[in-house]
């Protein structure tokens, strides 16, 4: 596996970047959103994930619902000895706030940033909100790259530019299927070095995306992480299908889980995710797995056991 291109960075790579550059499959996990200001409780929630995963994603008002800020969550992860990947979306902030948040993250010691366009406000529980989208995802990546070069977007110089390992998302399961790789490559040109792909529940579309990624050179330009989601059962699967924009749940899987007695559903969902992860890890062009678990940290541990140590 060729090491991904790095834009003018020295040797002090983030832990995630080091692992990916070493060519080992990497395991990342999505932290549950924090809705508490109790520090001890938040740490207890977060810590099991830090042990199981190489790095953890800290959401930025995930699913367009307000939670503890990603920066505070990332600081908590750092304090507990973990490696955060901070999410940053364009939905809630204009370019000034995005610049401030990026620099604040760097100051707090966060090195991995996932630059996202973000779900629309109407996907969340406060659809009356104003959507911002002053920038879009690729522009946000370019903005972060600008800061890394030592200036604000205005050209005003910056003391001690941040070093980020920039990531982005791409959705292999949403139209236009033929152009998703083109869009990912645009993000690479803007600064992305790794991708956490949108969650998959079947591998057919992922396979097509990866074939195109290998052919176009995307798989060499950036590290690709496949996302699997562990839901609690048929109800959770319906929520993911209906409420997370762009997620494709095959009808066959839906029927299979619905057909099981309720007490067997969680285990079945874990098994489905585990099998997907195992198969995805064997696919050429895949550099790791990202786990989104609605069943706590145990499924992340399960996936860890799959991975070569």
């Amino acid at each position: 596996m060729p090491p991904a291109r790095r834009a003018g960075r020295g040797t002090d790579l983030s832990r995630l970047e080091r692992l990916l550059a070493a060519g080992k499959p990497v395991l990342t996990a999505e932290l549950p959103s924090l809705d508490t200001t109790n520090r001890a409780a938040a740490r207890r929630l977060v810590e099991p994930f830090l042990e199981a995963a190489d790095a953890v994603n800290v959401g930025d008002n995930a699913a367009a619902r307000a939670h503890v800020s990603a920066l505070a969550g990332s600081a908590l992860v750092l304090e507990a000895g973990g490696e955060p990947i901070i999410h940053l979306t364009c939905r809630d902030r204009n370019r000034l706030a995005l610049e401030a948040e990026l620099l604040g993250a760097a100051l707090a010691g966060v090195e991995n940033v996932l630059c996202l366009t973000g779900d629309d406000v109407t996907a969340g529980d406060e659809p009356q909100s104003k959507r911002v989208f002053d920038l879009d995802g690729p522009q946000l990546l370019s903005l972060a790259a600008t800061l890394m070069k030592g200036t604000y977007l205005s050209g005003r110089p910056l003391d001690h530019p941040p070093r980020f390992f920039l990531g982005a998302a791409e959705n292999p399961t949403a139209p236009p299927f033929d152009h998703r790789v083109d869009r990912a490559r645009k993000k690479v040109r803007a600064g992305a070095r790794f991708f956490q792909l949108q969650m998959v529940f079947e591998l057919e579309r992922l396979r097509a995306f990866l074939a195109r990624a290998l052919e176009s050179g995307l798989a060499e330009e950036a590290h690709l992480l496949v996302t699997v989601c562990v839901v609690g059962g048929a109800r959770g699967l319906r929520v993911v299908r209906d409420q997370i924009p762009g997620v494709h749940v095959p009808a066959e899987l839906m029927r299979r889980i619905e057909g099981l007695p309720e007490r067997d559903q969680p285990a079945a969902c874990r098994q489905v995710a585990l099998e997907l992860a195992e198969r995805a890890l064997r696919m050429p062009g895949v550099h790791g797995v990202h786990v989104v678990s609605f069943q706590g940290p145990e499924p992340v541990v399960d996936v860890r056991r799959l991975m070569p140590s």
Partner: protein
């Protein structure tokens, strides 16, 4: 013109009058408003002192021509040429660099499922144009001050070519 606009946009509203009223308000808004005012995305006061008569005269003409044909939102910095003659400002997130990840399986918009993702249209149409590759260019953030200004005047004066000084681009 408004009827034509509604037809071209494929509006099938149960109350067509509402759509027409919306179109009319946009045109009236452009004719009567100052640049940068009451834009969909920005309520910033205008900071550019340049208020050119040419801009004022061109904007109403432009909206009447481009609104029916392209669904133009009068962002004042037109990229129709490189987006397959599809206005990306019709995207509820106003994304100028391609579709978000929320496009539905049937091609519907994440925000408004009844509307087809503008970027799917852009890819289809751009594919038929000789300058198709322009679609993959990284377009810079927009200048929010130019809402409701004339993009024709922007092109003539090259104010739409101005980039934020730190902008890296591709």
């Amino acid at each position: 013109v408004f009827l034509l606009a509604a037809w071209l946009q494929g509006y099938a509203s149960p109350v067509p009058g509402e759509e027409l009223a919306r179109e009319a308000r946009l045109v009236v808004g452009v004719v009567s408003s100052r640049r940068g005012e009451a834009s969909p995305a920005s309520c910033e006061p205008e900071r550019v002192p340049m208020r050119l008569m040419a801009d004022r005269l061109l904007a109403p003409v432009e909206v009447v021509v481009k609104r029916p044909i392209f669904g133009c939102r009068m962002c004042g910095q037109c990229v129709l040429h490189s987006t397959g003659l599809t206005c990306p400002m019709n995207c509820p997130k106003q994304l100028r660099n391609g579709p978000c990840g929320g496009v539905r399986g049937d091609g519907g918009c994440e925000v408004d499922p009844s509307m087809r993702c503008v970027w799917l249209k852009a890819y289809e149409r751009a594919g038929r144009l000789p300058w198709r590759d322009e679609l993959d260019e990284l377009r810079p953030p927009i200048d929010q001050r130019l809402w409701r200004a004339s993009s024709w005047w922007s092109r003539l004066t090259k104010r739409d070519a101005a980039r934020p000084p730190g902008w890296q681009g591709d």
